[in-house]
């Protein structure tokens, strides 16, 4: 049964690229080069390997992973640009690569590293061309441009040719272009890459607004962990083309084995430090750092209570590791792969 509008479904999705091994990959030499020309060797590279995920209407899912992990290929499969080697994909009840026209009316896409604007036309002209391609009425077009302009401040630069726009201005125009036809599902592939913090925040505010107020489904890839922390309640971790984790953003911390820690300042350091459920990981004069001991199920609140009861505490601070630390720990430890297996 086809899924409803706003739903993104991928089941066992795989994509294998075949390339021709050139002479350089075969060790070089004239004879090898001739052989590669006459009888080229085909090399298979699996970019996406059995990805299964589902995004519900109005949900924002962040797809995370290192470079070459398969994030962008997954997005392109879901968009219908690429045809999967195997598996099933359905977006808004449409199989994207089989019915690209119907799919195009229901999705929007932004690729941070490339633009859909015509580079020698003023941005506004490009938006007008897209208006005509999507067959929007003048009233709808004006209303949406007004809405986007309120957050993205497009009018400041939309008479400039696309090639002369700054990266931030260009991506803001691309966001408007992608949402002009009011699609229920939006794919964003590293939309804020290379932007300064001010513009990044502007784009994040826009995305929050689109998800919360307009109920759009958003699938986002990014390397920016601040973005993930601020926008996504759910993340999917991909590495070597496979989904390694799919769950709450907070759950990544468990996967990484990185947890909260408590920094304590004490009046005097006792000869023996014994706090049930906690162990010391750092001591510098009166400054002590505690983490939960192995097997401990203490919550940060309970830990604070324990520490105050057992030590002459003058100052106490609970610190949670940021998402960037967590991601680094996950990929460094291979924890994600282990979790998937």
């Amino acid at each position: 049964m086809p899924s409803a509008a706003g739903v993104v479904v991928a089941e066992n999705l795989s994509k294998v690229f075949y390339t021709r091994a050139g002479a350089h990959t075969n060790g070089g030499g004239f004879r090898t080069a001739i052989r590669a020309l006459v009888s080229p060797e085909r090399v298979a590279k699996s970019a996406v390997d059995g990805v299964t995920l589902r995004v519900e209407p109005g949900e924002l899912l962040a797809l995370l992973g290192p470079n070459g992990a398969g994030k962008s290929t997954t997005i392109k499969l879901l968009c219908g640009i690429l045809t999967p080697t195997s598996g099933r994909v359905e977006v808004n009840g449409v199989i994207p690569h089989q019915d690209r026209i119907a799919n195009a009316r229901k999705i929007g896409a932004v690729f941070g590293q490339r633009t859909q604007l015509w580079r020698d036309l003023p941005a506004r002209r490009s938006l007008e061309v897209l208006r005509d391609i999507y067959g929007l009425s003048a009233a709808d077009y004006q209303a949406r441009i007004k809405e986007f302009d309120e957050i993205l401040e497009l009018r400041e630069f939309w008479d400039t040719r696309a090639r002369q726009l700054s990266l931030g201005q260009r991506v803001r125009c691309d966001l408007a272009a992608a949402l002009l036809h009011d699609p229920p599902v939006v794919f964003l592939d590293e939309p804020t890459i290379g932007m300064d913090v001010v513009v990044k925040e502007q784009v994040r505010e826009f995305l929050r607004d689109q998800v919360n107020r307009r109920g759009r489904t958003v699938l986002l890839t990014t390397h920016d962990m601040t973005e993930v922390a601020r926008l996504a309640e759910r993340v999917a971790l991909i590495d070597h083309g496979r989904i390694m984790y799919d769950g709450a953003t907070g759950g990544l911390r468990d996967l990484a084995g990185v947890t909260w820690q408590v920094h304590v300042t004490v009046e005097t350091v006792p000869a023996v430090i014994d706090v049930p459920g906690m162990r010391v990981t750092g001591a510098l004069g009166e400054f002590l750092t505690f983490v939960p001991s192995d097997g401990s199920e203490l919550t940060p609140r309970q830990a604070v209570r324990q520490l105050i009861e057992h030590l002459p505490v003058t100052d106490i601070r609970v610190e949670e590791p940021d998402l960037e630390d967590v991601m680094r720990a996950v990929f460094a430890s291979g924890g994600a792969r282990a979790a998937a297996e």
Binding site: C79, I81, T83, R100, A104, R114, R119, R125, L130
Partner: protein
């Protein structure tokens, strides 16, 4: 359709070098053919007026047949290289239709300039009018079909990018072939007979030589039926081939980079 005209007209300064080039080329071609015909009344079945008119129209065809999209980063090979070809598959217009509409826009813009240049050449007497209204009509009809053939040939070259990413060699070969074999460099009638016979089996002469030969009266209007039949056959064959190529291309599209 308006993308190319808008792009060109918002950068009017870019129009001047090609215009200067066309004027220079037209003038040189005019003088060259008059010099070649010095003391000669008829050669290869063409008199000086017919040969000059043919050659001048060939110049207009070469210059305005396609609009240079390279500097706009809008050629197929550039779109493939920077990955923006992806957007062709994300719009509610099929890539095939989008390509056709863009080509129509290019032709409308280039055609308008060519028409202007044609009117000026005609006005100053540099080239002659067709011998009769039927000849003019026949030339227009075969030119229209020739442009369709040219469109398909260009499309094949562009579609090669889906297999090889770059198509520089094919573009160069096509540019040379469509200039030489179509008759844009020099009227086909001046080439050796074996060359003309071989050329009859290729689509290029149908793009330009036939309409120009009808225009200058080198081919009688009574040949129109045969020529149109040949052109229509080429159109059908190339349409079928490009339809199949588009299907294959759409299934194997890849986007370079992340």
């Amino acid at each position: 359709m308006r993308i190319t005209p808008l792009t060109e007209l918002t950068q009017a300064a870019r129009l001047l070098p090609p215009l200067a080039m066309v004027v220079t080329q037209l003038a040189l071609t005019f003088w060259l053919w008059h010099a070649l015909y010095h003391g000669v009344r008829v050669s290869a079945g063409l008199d000086v007026t017919q040969a000059t008119t043919y050659a001048l129209l060939g110049v207009l065809y070469l210059q305005f047949r396609t609009v240079d999209r390279w500097s706009n980063g809008d050629t197929m090979v550039q779109l493939m290289m920077d990955g923006t070809i992806a957007f062709w598959f994300l719009r509610p217009v099929s890539p095939r239709r989008y390509y056709l509409i863009r080509a129509a826009g290019d032709l409308a813009y280039g055609g308008a300039l060519a028409l202007l240049a044609y009117a000026v050449c005609l006005g100053i007497g540099a080239m002659a009018s067709p011998p009769s209204w039927p000849a003019f009509g026949a030339a227009l009809l075969t030119l229209a079909l020739g442009l369709v053939i040219t469109y398909y040939l260009q499309l094949i070259v562009d579609l090669m990018c889906f297999w090889s990413t770059v198509n520089d060699a094919a573009v160069t070969a096509m540019s040379f072939a469509s200039g030489l074999l179509a008759g844009a460099f020099a009227p086909i009638w001046f080439f050796p007979s074996w060359f003309q016979r071989v050329n009859e089996f290729l689509p290029f002469q149908s793009t330009l030589n036939i309409p120009l030969s009808l225009y200058v009266g080198r081919l009688p209007v009574s040949d129109l039926g045969v020529q149109v039949a040949v052109q229509v056959s080429w159109c059908a064959a190339l349409a079928l081939l490009t339809w199949w190529l588009w299907r294959r291309a759409a299934a194997r599209v890849t986007v370079l980079g992340g």
